[in-house]
Symmetry: C2
Subunit: 321 residues, 2 copies
């Protein structure tokens, strides 16, 4: 199976629908700001997970394209507002929305995407009961993403973040949108409640694994592959599972929070984190989450879509960037 091609096939369905679902309206500059990140690309992992979940419970992928578009737009909305908060000026190799349209423009572009997502979701072909379930799920999901982002920001002022707190933050900030995408796909595909729950758990567990593995990649990936400075999480003093494990193992990292650290210092820190087993610990934890997530799909009938979802889970912790 060519996993990336299978994902791309589903992503293309969303790409083809955006012009119809969210055309450039008035004021046109607002709509250009809203479409900017979507048009800039992205892997479309969340729409793909939603569409594959529909297929895995026997539903028709064509019916859920608006819902798949909606979760991608929610993702875009979080990126736009997060980039303001984190003062990140680059996204997908382009100037961030707030760099191009100012802080006010970026706040409004994000806000409008937010409400458009609900509106586009409501255009999905489904009976009213399932639609209420999906719209409610979307609202709860967005609330939890915001809670996760707030917690992540609050971590910046602390050096006593526990592993449990980190896990809870990652679940909300990153994993919950995967979980909701999978569950919505199941609901809209007329899956059973047990199937919807299994796909929710699958999205949540593999989503956590995805984020933990992301923290590993930040340290071990060559910079030309990573596209940003290696060890940036360390230099920013970010609370990651690796940093928490190191602290609990009494590893003293001089580069932690040192924004002007030299490459040699990062290399030294990497060596220390390898010796302390912190990197292996994060890698193993990510693997365990993904394995647990994959096991949840055992209740689904065999299908090509199920195989792709399982391969997508592996991809989350095997990718190179």
């Amino acid at each position: 199976m060519d996993l990336l091609n299978e994902i791309k096939t589903r992503g293309t369905m969303v790409d083809g629908a955006i012009q119809n679902l969210m055309p450039i309206g008035e004021p046109d500059e607002l709509y250009r700001a809203m479409r900017y990140l979507f048009d800039a690309g992205g892997k479309r992992l969340r729409p793909a997970a939603l569409i594959l979940s529909t297929e895995a419970v026997g539903g028709n992928p064509q019916d859920v394209i608006p819902a798949a578009t909606a979760v991608e737009l929610v993702h875009n909305f979080t990126l736009i507002h997060d980039d303001i908060m984190d003062a990140d000026n680059l996204r997908r190799g382009l100037p961030a929305v707030h760099v191009k349209w100012g802080i006010s423009g970026a706040i409004l572009a994000g806000d409008t995407l937010y409400s458009k997502s609900f509106h586009i979701l409501s255009k999905t072909n489904a009976d009213a009961e399932r639609m209420v379930e999906c719209l409610t799920l979307m609202s709860i999901t967005c609330t939890e993403i915001c809670e996760g982002q707030w917690t992540d920001i609050s971590f910046e002022k602390r050096n006593d973040v526990s592993e449990a707190e980190y896990m809870e933050m990652v679940k909300k900030k990153t994993a919950i949108l995967y979980a909701a995408s999978c569950k919505m796909g199941a609901i809209l595909g007329s899956g059973t409640p047990a199937q919807a729950q299994a796909l929710w758990d699958f999205g949540r567990l593999t989503g956590v694994g995805f984020q933990i593995y992301d923290d590993v990649l930040d340290l071990v990936t060559p910079e030309d592959v990573l596209g940003k400075i290696r060890g940036s999480d360390l230099m920013e003093g970010k609370q990651t599972l690796i940093a928490i494990h190191a602290r609990d193992s009494n590893v003293k990292l001089d580069v932690f929070g040192k924004r002007d650290a030299a490459r040699e210092e990062i290399d030294d820190a990497l060596k220390m984190l390898e010796d302390s087993g912190s990197i292996d610990y994060a890698r193993t934890t990510a693997h365990n989450f993904v394995a647990e997530g994959k096991a949840k799909l055992s209740i689904l009938p065999e299908s090509k879509a199920k195989d792709i979802l399982l391969a997508l889970a592996d991809y989350m912790i095997e990718r190179k960037f």
Copy 2:
């Protein structure tokens, strides 16, 4: 009839429900930021309009309290983000949310209120068809509010804004949430489509009247009553119906956009705007909108709630601040 008491009675229903519908959750500081403006007060005009609309079509006000709370929280969300964009540091006599919790905190508090509003709306006692209609209406409404805010900001860079453009902006930025509140009240109260449409039009037209009259008050109200500097719209160079009428009448206002104008200059401008008929024009226009809005309610059966709605419409252009 004691109009303000009737509004307060409905507002109190929402005040009494907030602790149950949106308790201080985790992270508690996020929830405190979200509750801050709500707890600071406000007239609760939108929740009152929603509840009265339910009553006016024969529905039970107790059934729509979550929906009424939701529209107030959407209003709070727009205030929080608007205050960031407009760099307004005071709101309801208190430091704005972004002053107390920083820009990031205010962005997130607004975002979370946004999704909570949809979630709380979904808790309203209604069949799935009506619920989908309300959730969809809310999403379209929020999109239009954002479009109106974007347009309003874009007016700052222009001096050729037409009356039609101003009207369209006010409709979206201010009136649409009144329209949606009234229509949701009708839908949830099991009103007919014609009743829902009439209440939508009522909210839209009186909402436009409300905003135009607000611009008049900014100029003519004594400062100790207004609670802010008189003529602030003029000094900020804001495009209002008054400013547009004056420009079209070839009135040259030296204070327009002059942020350090003295009180005497404002008084001179006020005199010129009275002589040119610009203030009377705005006042008359506001009255006409309200009269047109009230006429829409003729299809409703006689009831106390209808009388209160009609009185509320008059209040919008007769209030002193």
